[in-house]
Symmetry: D3
Subunit: 124 residues, 6 copies
């Protein structure tokens, strides 16, 4: 039996990026299935459902953060895809990543742009 | 003689946060005055003036990035202040920082919230 | 009305470090009171209550992580204190931090040791 | 002629993970053979041989640190394997990595779990 | 029409590593061509052309920085190659990377050495 | 009885920055005196004494690394001071730190410049 937070989180994750949600749950099944629940419940059930910030701004924040961290390429691609899903244009996503050269340096921005290039090419 | 990029950057920085610009130029005067020029020219003259992303989204991205990096408290406070200047509500800024618990962990989000608390209290 | 997870988390946090819990809730009261709830619910209600790892090992893991991150000094001190509370000796905590010189470099280990020195001196 | 610290370190590394030690020495042979000596001498000869912390706790600390750093996937896998060697259960290792979602964020925990999944599948 | 800074930067980048410059411009062509301009203009036109520090010292600094950051392997390889171009010996580059074990930990130094090994083997 | 590596390391550290060495040993005396030995032995006895890279280049590398890491302000100041001791000019140190804006972002470079400003003002 899943919690209400899981159900709310799952709905939100589907709105953001349904296929990514299914993939992560699948990938955690045989190593840490309960972590999949926590991943739906806290980030998506508790945080992304909060109403004081729109989803587009949330994805801009996440793309910025994952770009400067520079060590979570798979998750950055998921959120670039999610950004497109919730209404960011490709140009806006590229701008966010370019801006990160100022805060995290040029290498992280370059690697972020290459991640975007890969996601965008899979969109077509 | 300042470059056109400096002039454009200076105008943009004033729009974002005029007093911060003056302070940083002042603080670099006797250690690296040319770095003050570069700081106006590249981040503000080249990046923030680009038109495909609005200033409010730019500040959301920067607040997110500086929160997860967690090692640039002074600059985070400048951009929380700048966020308010360009139209973010306090609630939106708090949401961005809270969301960073997901990507950079709870300590960086906590420290980001304490930075916001300090900036907000100076606003009143 | 607090959730069951909050109640479980609050009990666990009290077991780990009661006064730290009260302080953080107090400190978030006027900036992000709901983040205080999330901080009790997810880390303490969902994670630290899980039974497959003892609390002492959990604090060793957290002290190691916060030492190498090197940007969350206040939280590191809280967990050094918590480590003592759940049965780590001072010597064990010092060993964990020293070992981090191997993974995060000597500066983070030095700063971790200085944090431990401060916490230990407040114990007496 | 190897130093006593090298000999002590080599014995300790064999206890922790013999095959990893041989591989790293082999891999450094033609680029920096003296770094292989330092790697045996300092981390294993000087640190892991210290007696005030048991090897299982040492591996928990290392797995936590490498998970939050998120940029040393090969070394994380070596230490997940070493953790199993010195008496950690798979469940305990999974718990340590899950807990790192609190301190380093969900992406680093996810990537840590995928590393564990790979190591565990090679165990069978 | 390219700016004077672009022209100066392009000349400097050719001096440092001509083929890397062409590759990065090519790779950004269909995702963010203007970022390629910024990458030539700011790092190479504004910074590397400054005369108070020689190019060899600049590459030592960059190799050190990218080694400890540990999340920009492609860029580290470009700068190891550039280091050789501007007069660093292989031994000097290996020494810089080994030294980073002290500041960023052994895993980042190991990964830096493996990057150097790959670059050096392509030199022959 | 100190090891030969300690003696060699101590001589090297005195050459680099004698007063810093005494301070760190003093500061570790009551928390982890054996870590003071390791700090002299490995970084200074094993690494800085190696002959294939001159001390000036070693300090340039360290200043670059500590600037981009951005979480070890005290150690950065020690090495800015050490850089001056081993023959770097103030201008060269400022250039290294400015260059780090490219790799670690503008905030880390700004904070590095403020650290240099503090060290330089204590020189006079």
């Amino acid at each position: 039996m899943k919690s209400d937070r899981f159900k709310k989180g799952w709905e939100k994750l589907k709105e953001v990026d349904g296929s990514a949600g299914e993939k992560v749950i699948e990938s955690l099944k045989d190593i840490a299935p309960e972590f999949a629940d926590l991943l739906i419940e806290f980030p998506f059930g508790d945080i992304y459902t909060r109403e004081k910030l729109d989803l587009k701004s949330r994805e801009i924040a996440t793309i910025a953060a994952l770009t400067v961290m520079g060590n979570a390429s798979a998750q950055l691609k998921v959120h670039i895809h999610a950004g497109l899903n919730v209404g960011c244009t490709k140009e806006e996503i590229v701008e966010v990543i370019m801006q990160m050269a100022v805060y995290g340096g040029f290498p992280c921005a370059l690697n972020g742009l290459f991640a975007a290039k890969e996601v965008f090419s899979n969109e077509n």
